[in-house]
Symmetry: C2
């Protein structure tokens, strides 16, 4: 008798097969007619398989009538067309074997609905809930879609280093990585000697793989990274994590227009895949998390993304009459409230902002001919705000060195990065997409801590 997933067993085409499923009890309901309905879930999909256990089964009163939520079991029998609404099949059980018990007195996931906040305390168990299970399947599907999109176009998947001695943004708060004995430091009274540390100098967790990604784009033309990145910022918000995953494509011979086209095609591909393949989970989000979600996403796919320069955006914001908390003026960075206004109210869909002031952007972005703006782009989407940030990179050695000097960066620290502009320099561009923001956008989940298996934020590295 072959073991199949609940997802497969629930398919109408499986009716008639003799099979086995293995999973966990969600609920048990006993009929007065002397048999029981057991809802079994194995996480392969949102829905449960209804297992009908007849009172004639040998262990019916000893085991089956004692099954509670969370018990693991193996059930086998024949799949039959279900008379019940909303399910194509159910399992007429020939055997139901209890594998692991689950004490209802102590099991945290009782039938009652828990808040997402409460579930975070049980991050080791919350994957068993409908919401978090659906989020994790969606997240996996998005990851797959990301790899498909780039691999199909001949991009090389690149692992840039997690531990690094360089700081991509020239700023940013970093986590130090060390094997120095901190207790010893408190005894010595001497200065910290990083030459004794594991890497022979100060080392940190990466905030972006971009600079290293550029080195390989200038060798293999099309590359993308997809890995964890880190921010040691003391941000206790629903939008920030200390550890999150980022996708960063980088392409040689691309300019800003190519880059914008790639970003739009990329986002649309992910949404198309999600809508096409995560039907049941997406319907769940639409019903329980964010009504109207699927329709909004479908609209994003259909429309061409709007484009607007930063300068025009400032004009729009200044003339909007909206009571913004932060004032709007050319040369200041846009706040979340401004981005949300532009994408949600002004455009009502995705918006790509371009040509930001050089003074508020990192040294590596290409200076435009006006010498005031850089070839930067941010993609804003309703409900999330900035989801993608990118730019064409400065490929001219002299301009790059001048920008580094302006921003107080030490040229010697970036010898390898500037080398790319010495030896066969080429225009190139790229962007970064935060995976968690993308999962939020696609699911409607409000808090970023609920779209990652084990969130890391100030004060929390549990599990």
């Amino acid at each position: 008798m072959s073991w199949i997933s609940v997802s497969e067993a629930r398919n109408a085409s499986a009716v008639g097969r003799s099979i086995e499923v293995r999973g966990w009890v969600r609920t048990r309901r006993d009929s007065k007619a002397g048999f029981s309905f057991i809802e079994v879930n194995d996480g392969s999909c949102l829905g449960n398989l209804q297992v009908v256990a007849d009172g004639s089964l040998a262990n019916y009163s000893d085991e089956i009538l004692k099954l509670t939520a969370g018990c693991s079991l193996v059930a086998s029998g024949t799949l039959v067309a279900s008379p019940a609404a909303g399910q194509a099949s159910e399992l007429r059980a020939e055997s139901v074997r209890l594998i692991g018990t689950c004490d209802p007195e102590t099991y945290p996931l009782q039938k009652k609905r828990h808040s997402l906040e409460k579930l975070r305390e049980w991050s080791h168990l919350r994957g068993r809930t409908n919401t978090i299970g659906a989020v994790m399947r969606l997240r996996s599907r998005i990851c797959d879609s990301i790899h498909r999109f780039f691999q199909e176009q001949g991009f090389c998947y690149l692992h840039t280093p997690i531990i690094t001695a360089s700081d991509c943004e020239g700023a940013g708060e970093l986590f130090r990585v060390t094997t120095l004995n901190l207790d010893q430091l408190t005894r010595g009274g001497r200065a910290v000697d990083y030459s004794q540390d594991f890497f022979g100098k100060s080392a940190f967790l990466t905030v972006s793989g971009q600079l290293e990604g550029e080195t390989y784009a200038c060798a293999l033309s099309k590359v993308y990274t997809f890995g964890p990145t880190f921010r040691a910022e003391n941000s206790n918000t629903s939008r920030h994590l200390a550890e999150f995953w980022m996708v960063e494509p980088e392409v040689a011979f691309y300019d800003l227009s190519d880059n914008m086209r790639l970003a739009e095609a990329f986002l649309k591909r992910i949404l198309r895949d999600v809508l096409a393949t995560c039907g049941e989970d997406m319907a769940f989000f639409d019903q329980h998390i964010q009504p109207g979600l699927s329709e909004r996403l479908a609209k994003v796919i259909e429309q061409p993304f709007q484009h607007m320069t930063y300068t025009d955006a400032i004009r729009v914001l200044a003339g909007s009459g909206e009571p913004f908390e932060y004032p709007v003026a050319w040369g200041t960075d846009l706040q979340a409230e401004h981005e949300r206004y532009l994408t949600e109210k002004h455009v009502g869909g995705p918006l790509i902002l371009t040509d930001y002031p050089a003074s508020i952007k990192p040294f590596y972005m290409r200076l435009s001919d006006d010498e005031k703006t850089v070839a930067a782009m941010d993609v804003l989407v309703p409900g999330v705000g900035e989801i993608i940030g990118g730019s064409q990179r400065e490929d001219r050695l002299d301009t790059l060195l001048a920008r580094m000097a302006t921003q107080g960066l030490n040229e010697a620290d970036y010898w390898w990065y500037t080398d790319l502009r010495r030896f066969g320099s080429a225009p190139h561009a790229g962007f970064g997409l935060g995976l968690e923001r993308m999962v939020q956008f696609a699911s409607g989940m409000a808090n970023i801590r609920d779209v990652v298996p084990f969130p890391r934020y100030p004060g929390n590295a549990e599990f």
Copy 2:
């Protein structure tokens, strides 16, 4: 005129098309008849596209005759069938535009061949060499194959945390992650107060996502992680990195036999994909790195993997008459020399060793009925040794707690891990594959530092 990759342009089916390529000069050769052959590479494949530039081009003497290795250019024209051996097509150029110069006096990658050791000093440029370019394309292909294998079978891709307060192996040397000001520590003279650190306690870089992976396997049934892992070991060998990528599938209701089947199918799938899709790069490795490689890999795919218990392996080793450096006795861990003997000389192919002594394996492996061995498995392959390590996990709460006590682990630190055995416990199993070892196995590359873009090892976090 459409921009296509060198890989596409070199295809016989592209002959006749008017196209543009963008890339870097590998070599230039001038004919006495007044035209030049420029070998152009863009990293999309190992081979170059031969661009034929006629002396009649406007910039022929000013630019084309000055092109040197490493210059970037854009060439357009018509692809024609090439009369030269070994290439289907060549580009009859209508235009060759120099984009970025490359001073031959200072460019490190001259025509002469550099040692792989030397190339590591230029890790930002070495992707432009045949060997490292081929390795990175292969690595990307292997990653893709890994995702394909699991996604096609309904596994959920899971991101387990990189920063963690738990130590999976109960041992292992860890990198500390901190935002404490170390300089301040040397002044205070007080004990280190980790409650003031970012996460409110000591935090480290993960050595494995397994324990967290188990939590989601006990919710979604089939999961796999694929992310960076870390070892702060002072190992300066050709087999160890401080930072490397690991794939870790974990499946609920799997026993050791299921696990072995999965591991064998997994390795074979990767090799099949590599041989089917990386033809040119594999031929390069076969010719320049490890003669006979492709044939050896093909043999691995054809044969069923051999199985042997640890106890039998000890018997084989003790009776082998080989002059091992480390003595062989039941209860001691196998050394690389033993593993290599078993897989290379005794079996002559992949070998799965099972049922290791409990005393030399971690607490989470399932204790067998003999109470002396655990349901562990190591997959050994010729040329590399151990490439996969895995086990069925201990799913019985009492046995697990007893093993933890024996190994001196603090039960309270693992409250969430043991919870999985309290609430609907189920048999489950999984394994880990080191990506870099897999790339070495598939490419024949001798040093692990040459199969990762930017290697991290003691004293080195450059780039």
